[in-house]
Amino acid sequence: MPKNKELILQVKDIHKSFGDKEVLKGISFEVHKGETKVIIGPSGMGKSTLLRCINQLTIPDKGTIWLRGQEVNHHNARQINQFRQKIGMVFQDFNLFDHLNAVSNVEIALIKVKGMKKQEARDKAMSELQKVGLVKQAFLYPAELSGGQKQRVSIARALAMDPEVMLFDEPTSALDPELIGEVLGVMQKLAQEGMTMVVVTHEMGFARSVADEIIFLERGRILESGPPEKLFYQPEYERTRKFLFKLTELYGDIKGYHKR
């Protein structure tokens, strides 16, 4: 892949255990500017934990994260907050702030964290909502939005911070099938516009056409990684082929996914 491109994120030898269960057993990978990495693997095998380790929502037991060559140090709370501003995160259950309408959800961190003036933050928030196609819904509250709309607000909320990299933690898993497409559409557009992204998903159609690299995580290790063509057609391991086949069968190849 584009080795000449700027290195954004380096993940090195991440270990994490919960009790006796070692969920991550030494994960390393790198993400360059504009790349989309898709992480796949069986449920409960640490994919979400890995994403949370990247922005230190979960503190890894061992291993290091670098963002643009700067080590993310979890001992310094202020520094972590700085890093997190540059690492956007989108959650499976949206996690919108229920007491704030859509535009306030997007602007609150701009005001409270970045110290932006209210009007400036409002303008920025509106333009982010425009990117995800939700200007009309700007003054609706989370409980008044559909799942797909909620997830698009949460994408806008993360984008408003102008992150270096976006992490997506199964962004479509909590959605009704007919709503998945609108979220994947937004993500695909982001990828095309050059956003650097790490995506945990089961959506094989998306992985196949948007990913620069697919990382197959199993039993806390990276079993195999490579461009989609390689993993889909010439995987090194039979296990990879079986898993991809199963996912494609379950979730469909291009279901709910618009080619634009």
């Binding site: 922005n55 929502l57 709370a77 202020r78 907050n81 700085q82 890093f83 997190r84 501003q85 690492i87 956007g88 995160m89 959650f91 259950d93 996690n95 919108l96 702030f97 229920d98 007491h99 309408n101 609150i108 961190a109 409270k112 964290v113 609706l140 509250y141 989370p142 409980a143 008044e144 949460s154 909320r157 993360a158 911070m161």
Partner: protein, 221 residues
């Protein structure tokens, strides 16, 4: 007829008690609120030894009869440390501290009912713990707390009459004064009771309006 005349003559004196009672109740509720909220936050987010201290505080103030607390603080502690308080001030402090213990449990429940997701989202945007609690958790927890908190007002109102025991000039103290002078307990105490009922009704009405006003869209009952 004679009864009515007595009540009529006693009324201004009794009504002055409303000011004392309401002053006491509102001050104590306010004190309970500004102490109760940090206690609740501490019980959810603080380190384990702070949690322990708060648990002991809550246990102490919920575990003792109000009368014991009043005597213990007004005649005991405040005198011992040379704090020269009026009966009213002492009552505000004691009822307020006691209320903070109860209120903290209401707010703690609300905070815990919010779940961790929104907190994670706030952190992921670079908010510090303090900012996340202040901007995301508290505004929601306080809204959710209103129905449960609404109990605190009538509870405090009815409990406030016990400060009669240390001579706070609230409604019952005044009623008692007149009843013992006129030997007409029934009409006087009945008047006191009606005043209490009216106060409790109007307070509940106001709280209900507040609940309606700050309700989050989509969270209608």
């Amino acid at each position: 007829m004679e009864n009515l005349m007595v009540v009529y003559e006693a009324l201004p004196f009794l009504l002055q008690g409303i000011i004392t009672t309401l002053g006491l109740v509102l001050s104590a509720l306010f004190l309970g609120f500004i102490i109760g909220v940090p206690l609740a936050i501490g019980q959810v987010f603080a380190s384990s030894w702070i949690k322990k201290i708060i648990a002991i505080y809550v246990w102490f103030f919920r575990g003792l009869p109000i009368l014991v607390l009043l005597f213990l603080f007004y005649y005991g502690l405040f005198t011992m440390i040379g704090l020269n308080l009026t009966a009213f001030m002492a009552a505000v402090l004691v009822l307020g501290l006691r209320s903070s213990a109860y209120q903290s449990q209401i707010f703690r429940g609300s905070i815990q009912s919010l779940g961790k997701g929104q907190l994670m989202a706030a952190y992921s945007l670079g908010m510090s713990k303090g900012k996340a609690i202040w901007n995301i958790i508290l505004p929601q927890a306080l809204r959710i707390s209103i129905p449960g908190w609404s109990n605190e007002y009538p509870a405090m109102l009815t409990e406030s009459a016990i400060t009669y025991a240390i001579g706070v000039m609230e409604i019952l103290t005044r009623g008692n004064f007149i009843a013992s002078r006129t030997y007409l307990p029934m009409p006087i105490y009945l008047t006191c009771a009606i005043i209490f009922l009216l106060l409790s009704y109007s307070g509940m009405k106001l709280l209900h309006l507040l609940e309606e006003k700050v309700r989050m869209p989509g969270f209608e009952k």
